[in-house]
C-alpha cells in the first residue's frame, strides 16, 4: 500500500491526505451526532409513560361519560359511543402490565388493569340492567361503577404523579449525562481535529521534504559546488521526477566538467612540448654561435700565429700573440670556475701586456703581493674586469700617465684584501653607491669591455663568500683616482680540485 501511495502523483497524494483527514473528522462527527440523536430521542421517551397514562385516563373518562349519557338518555347514539369507548379503553387496559414486580409502577398498573376489568364488567352489567329496565339494579351498579371509576382515576392520577416524579429525576439525570456527553464529544472532536491537522501537516511535510532537499542541493549547485551528494528519489511523483532529472543533470555536469578538464590538460601538455621545442631550438642556435667563436679554435689559431712569428724570428710578435693566446685560454678554461689568486693575477698581467702593446705602454702597472696569499681561492673573472673598468673609465679619460697599482694583503687572520688603485678621473659618491648597489649600468655595455659588469662581479663575490660585505670603492674626488678593494676569505684550494 505504501508502495502504491508512493507511486501516486503529487496532486493525488495531497488530495488523498486531505480526504482521509476530512473523512476521519466526518466519521467522528457522524458518530457523535448519532449518539446525540439517540440521546435526545431517549430524552423524548422519558415522558412517554405519562402521555400513555393520560390517554388511559381520557379513555376511562369517555367510558364513564358515555355510560352516564346512556343511562340518562338511552339513545342508540350514546350506546354506540359507549361501546366504542369501551373498546378503546379495554384495548388500552390490555396493554398494561399484569406482573407483580418490585417496581411500584408496574404493580400500580396491574392494579389499574384488574380494577379496570372489574369496572368494565360493572359498566356492562349496568348497561345491561338499564336495557332490561331493572331500575334498582342499574342504579346500584352505576354507583359501584362510579366508585370504581373514582378509585381507578385516583390510581391513574397517583401513578401519573409517581411516574412524573421519577421521570423528572430521570430527565435531570439524562440531561446531566447529555451535557457530559456533549462535553466529551467536544473534547473528542477537538482532539481528533488536532490530530488530523497534525497528520496532514506531517504527511504534507513528508511529501514536501524531498522538494526542500532539492532546493537546498540546487542552491549548493548554484553556488558552484558540483560535488554535493546525489539526492535520493523517495517517491515516484512529480517531485521524484524532478529530483531524478536534477540528479541526472548533476551527473551530466560533472561528466562535462571532467571532459573539459581532460581536454585542457591535453592542450597544456601540447603547449609545454612546443615551448620545450623552442628552447631546444634556441639552445641549438646558441650552440651554433658558440661553436663559431670557439675559444679553443681562437687559441689554437693564435698559437699557430705565435709559432709562425717565432719561426720567422719576430720575438715581440711571438710574445704578443702568446699573451693574447694565454688570455683567451684562461677565458676558455676558467669561466665560471673557482681559481687561485695567482691565476687571476696572471690574467691581469696578460691583459695589461696586451693593452700596453695596443696603447704603446701608457699604463704603468705595479704589484705589491704577499706571496703566501697567492694560492687562496677566489671566483674567476673578477680582477680582470675591475682592471678593465679602471682602464676604460679611470685612465683612458684622463691626461697624462695612467698608473694602476694592485695589492694583495692580509686584512686579518682569515680575510685577504685585494686593492686595485688607479690615478684616473675618480668617482663621485652617487656613482659609487650605485655601483655597489648593483644599479649602475654602463651606457655601452658591449663597448670595449668584456661585458662583465660590476653588478655581476659583486653578485658572484657575495655568492662565493656568503657575505654581504665584499667590496669597497674609495675615491677622494675628481681626478683623485679610484681604489676598489675586495675582501675574500683565505681559503687554500684543495688538491683534488686542481
Amino acid at each position: 500500500m505504501r508502495k502504491k501511495f508512493r507511486q501516486l502523483s503529487l496532486q493525488a497524494k495531497m488530495s488523498s491526505i486531505f480526504v482521509l483527514a476530512n473523512l476521519v473528522v466526518f466519521a467522528v462527527t457522524v458518530i457523535l451526532l448519532l449518539g446525540i440523536n439517540s440521546m435526545s430521542s431517549e430524552i423524548d421517551k422519558v415522558y412517554q409513560g405519562n402521555l400513555r397514562l393520560n390517554e388511559v385516563s381520557d379513555a376511562l373518562m369517555a367510558v364513564q361519560d358515555s355510560m352516564t349519557d346512556y343511562l340518562n338518555s338511552k339513545t342508540s347514539d350514546s350506546l354506540e359511543e359507549f361501546y366504542r369507548n369501551e373498546q378503546t379503553y379495554s384495548q388500552l387496559v390490555q396493554d398494561m402490565s399484569d406482573e407483580v414486580t418490585g417496581a411500584t409502577f408496574q404493580r400500580m398498573e396491574r392494579s389499574i388493569r384488574h380494577m379496570s376489568e372489574e369496572y368494565l364488567d360493572l359498566v356492562s352489567q349496568t348497561i345491561e340492567a338499564k336495557r332490561g329496565r331493572n331500575v334498582e339494579k342499574y342504579r346500584v351498579r352505576y354507583e359501584n361503577a362510579t366508585q370504581m371509576y373514582e378509585y381507578i382515576n385516583t390510581y391513574i392520577y397517583s401513578l401519573n404523579n409517581e411516574q412524573f416524579r421519577s421521570n423528572s429525576e430521570n430527565y435531570s439525570r439524562l440531561s446531566a449525562a447529555f451535557r457530559n456527553f456533549e462535553m466529551v464529544s467536544v473534547i473528542a472532536l477537538s482532539i481528533v481535529i488536532v490530530v488530523s491537522v497534525s497528520i496532514v501537516v506531517k504527511l504534507t511535510g513528508e511529501i514536501i521534504s524531498p522538494l526542500k532537499d532539492l532546493a537546498v542541493t540546487a542552491d549548493e549547485v548554484a553556488g558552484g559546488n558540483f560535488d554535493t551528494e546525489l539526492l535520493q528519489v523517495q517517491s515516484e511523483d512529480e517531485i521524484g521526477v524532478v529530483t531524478g532529472a536534477f540528479n541526472q543533470m548533476l551527473i551530466s555536469i560533472r561528466q562535462y566538467l571532467e571532459s573539459l578538464r581532460e581536454s585542457m590538460e591535453i592542450r597544456r601538455s601540447l603547449m609545454e612540448k612546443e615551448l620545450l621545442m623552442e628552447a631546444h631550438l634556441k639552445d641549438a642556435q646558441l650552440k651554433y654561435l658558440q661553436a663559431q667563436i670557439n675559444p679553443h679554435f681562437l687559441f689554437n689559431t693564435l698559437n699557430a700565429g705565435a709559432q709562425l712569428a717565432m719561426m720567422e724570428g719576430a720575438d715581440r710578435t711571438y710574445e704578443y700573440v702568446q699573451n693574447v693566446a694565454e688570455f683567451f685560454r684562461y677565458n676558455v678554461k676558467k669561466s665560471n670556475d673557482i681559481v687561485t689568486v695567482r691565476e687571476e693575477l696572471e690574467l691581469v698581467d696578460h691583459y695589461i701586456y696586451i693593452l700596453n702593446v695596443r696603447f704603446s705602454g701608457d699604463i704603468h702597472y705595479g704589484k705589491e703581493i704577499e706571496e703566501d696569499l697567492l694560492d687562496s681561492c677566489m671566483p674567476s673573472m673578477i680582477l680582470q674586469p675591475i682592471v678593465e673598468n679602471s682602464v676604460n673609465h679611470g685612465i683612458r679619460e684622463m691626461n697624462g700617465e695612467g698608473k694602476i697599482r694592485l695589492k694583495v694583503y692580509h686584512v686579518d687572520g682569515d680575510t685577504l684584501g685585494i686593492s686595485i688603485r688607479d690615478n684616473g678621473i675618480g668617482m663621485d659618491r652617487d656613482t659609487i653607491e650605485k655601483v655597489l648597489g648593483g644599479n649602475y649600468h654602463e651606457e655601452q655595455s658591449g663597448g670595449g669591455s668584456n661585458g662583465i659588469a660590476m653588478g655581476n662581479i659583486i653578485a658572484r663575490l657575495k655568492l662565493f663568500t656568503q657575505n654581504e660585505d665584499v667590496m669597497t670603492i674609495l675615491s677622494d674626488g675628481k681626478n683623485q683616482g679610484t681604489e676598489v678593494i675586495l675582501y675574500l676569505p683565505i681559503k687554500e684550494r684543495e688538491k683534488t680540485d686542481v
Binding site: V24, A27, V28, I31, L32, L34, G35, S38, M39, E42, K45, V46, E99, V100, T101, G102, A103, T104, F105, Q106, R107, M108, R110, S111, H114, M115, E118, Y119, Q147, M148, Y151, T154, Y155, Y157, S158, L159, N161, E162, N170, R173, L174, A177, F181, V184, S185, A188, I191, V192, V195, S196, S198, I199, K202, E206, Q232
Partner: protein, 348 residues
Amino acid sequence: MSRTTDRAGRNKGQWIVIGFMAFAIIVISICTVIFRSYVRGFHKVTDREKYDRYYVMITEDRKSDFWQSVYRGAFERGQEENVYVDLLGEHLSQEYTRAELMRIAMSSGVDGIFVESDESDEMSQMIDEAVERGIPVVTLYGDNTHSARCSFVGVGSYNLGREYGRQVLKLASVSESTAPMTVAVLVNAHALNSAQNIVCSGIQDALEQEKIRGPEIELSLITVDDTNTFSVEESIRDIFMNEKLPDIIICLNELSTTCVYQAVVDYNCVGEVAILGYYDTDTILKAIERNVVNATISIDTEQMGAFCVDALQEYYRFGYTSQYFTADVTIIDQNNVGEYLQAQEATE
C-alpha cells in the same frame, strides 16, 4: 544510512498517528455505546424481579413507626418467600378508609390481604366478600372474629393487659399515699375493637389476682375520640383540662402515648401522672429516659409482619393455617431503656 533510520522513524511515527486515530474512534464509539446503554437503563425497571404473589397490608395509620415497622417485617419476609407485600394507599394521592382500601384491594386482584381489623360488621362483610372472591384475609393487630378471615396476627392482648396490671401494681407498691389510686385506660371510641376490651380485662384480672399490698386501685376507662383525623390529640388534652387527673394513665396505642407524654410536659404534670405507654418509638424511649413515661410495651412488630406472610404462605401451601399468631411483648422501663436506645441508634 541516516535515510533508512529516518524512514524507520517516519514509519513508526505514522503508525503511532494511525493507532492514535483508531484509538480515538474506538473510545468515542465505546463512550457512545456506554452512554446509550446507560440511557436504556432508565427505561428498564431496575428491579425486574417477578414475584409469585402479591399481598397488601391495610392499616388505619400507615405512617406511624409501629405500622411502618410491621410493614417492614412483612416486606422482608415476603422477599424471602418471593412475595411482594405492599402497604396499600402508600402511593396514592388520596387517603382512603380501610373499607375503601379493602374494596380497592379486592378489585386489584391481590393474592392476600392483611388488614388491621376491628369487630365491626362492615369489616366482617368486607373480609367475607374478599374470601368469597378467593382472597384470603389475615386480620392484623385487631381481630374480626365473626368473619371468614383465615388467621389473626396480633399481640396477646390479655397478657398485655396483665403486664400493664403488674406495672400498675409495681407503681402502687412504691406509692406512699394511702388514698385510692386512680388508673385511667385510654380506649378508642371504637369500642368494637375487642383487643382493647381484652387488654382491659387483663389489667383488671392482674389487679385483682396479684395485688398484695398498697392503696386501693380504681380502674376507669377514658374514651378517646378517634373518629376524626385530629380528634385523638384533642380528646387527650381534654383529660388534662379536668380538675381531677388520674394517677396512672395507660395508653393502648402509639399515638395516644405520644399525645399524653406531650400533654404531661405541656401542663407541667411531670411526676404527678404516671404513664404506661405503648410501643417503643424514639420519642417514647426518650420520654422513659427522662422519666416522664414510666414504662412502655415493646412489641416485636417485624415479627408481626413476618407472621402475616407466614400465615398466608401456609394457607396457600396447605389450605389452612393457625388461627392465632402472637408477637412477643417486652416491658421497657428505666432499667432497660438504655439497651433499646442503643439498639435504635445502631440501626440508624
